[in-house]
């Protein structure tokens, strides 16, 4: 049977994952507040310039979300 990881490891990963998201939220909030293009528009521009990279990134992000959130076993 699998065992839980040490608390320090779990907290480190949670800190990195949620901390990065928080940083991006702060940046998006600042861009929206100053009426500049939000992060999504920059990502869209980047994705149209590099469609294969964007496809790979979307597959990885989708796979991770499914892997983390969709547990049926």
């Amino acid at each position: 049977m699998l065992r839980p990881a040490p608390n320090a490891a779990v907290l480190s990963v949670a800190g990195v994952a949620l901390g990065t998201l928080l940083m991006l939220v702060g940046a998006d909030f600042a861009l929206t507040w100053t009426r500049r293009l939000p992060i999504g528009s920059w990502v869209a521009g980047w994705a149209r310039r590099y469609p294969l990279f964007a496809l790979a990134l979307a597959l990885v992000a989708g796979g991770l979300i499914g892997h983390f959130f969709f547990a049926t076993g």
């Binding site: 608390n7 990963v13 940083m23 939220v25 909030f29 009426r35 920059w42 980047w46 991770l64 547990a71």
Partner: protein, 177 residues
């Protein structure tokens, strides 16, 4: 959409972003507080699948948040002077430096996102290879121990993904409306 629509969407975006940030801070604070005061996980091993609210409600909340994220980003108002089509070509050295800084910021954000994915994958590989819980079991454990806060956290993450990764139509991206 009426002329006031993009402005309303902008304020909705700001409100949703604040809410999502608040939920993420709360989730992070709860995780730190719990693990600092308890030696073990907050659920059984392995965590049970059933909890309150039922999973279909969680899925519906996440789908609604994903759509809300997309719509808030697609409809929000952008100052026309910041649109790519309205920007004149950078001629002076100062303008070129400023454009370079903007590109650097965006590439930095993308790099941060990739580093986050890398950190999650490294943890997953190390955990599974050493007989530890994968991340999905921590998510299920959080859902088991605190169903509604976890649902809000998952909805916040899907809202942000819908806002950042669901591409608008080309005309919307170019006009910002």
């Amino acid at each position: 959409m009426s002329p006031k629509g993009p402005e309303i969407a902008r304020w909705a975006s700001l409100g949703f972003l604040l809410a999502a940030g608040g939920v993420l801070v709360y989730a992070l604070g709860s995780a730190f507080t719990y693990t600092a005061t308890h030696p073990g996980p907050a659920c059984s091993n392995p965590p049970a699948l059933a909890a309150d609210p039922p999973q279909w409600i969680v899925v519906l909340c996440c789908l609604a948040a994903f759509a809300a994220g997309h719509l808030s980003g697609r409809w929000q108002q952008v100052d026309p002077q910041h649109l790519p089509a309205a920007m004149p070509a950078a001629v002076t050295e100062a303008e070129q430096r400023q454009r370079g800084r903007q590109v650097l910021v965006i590439e930095g954000l993308l790099l941060a996102f990739l580093i986050e994915i890398l950190a999650l994958l490294v943890f997953e590989v190390v955990a599974l290879s050493s007989g530890r819980w994968p991340i999905t079991l921590y998510v299920r454990c959080a859902y088991n121990a605190a169903g509604w806060p976890t649902t809000l956290g998952a909805a916040s993450v899907t809202f942000l993904l819908g806002r950042w990764l669901w591409l608008p139509r080309r005309s919307s991206a170019e006009t910002g409306s």
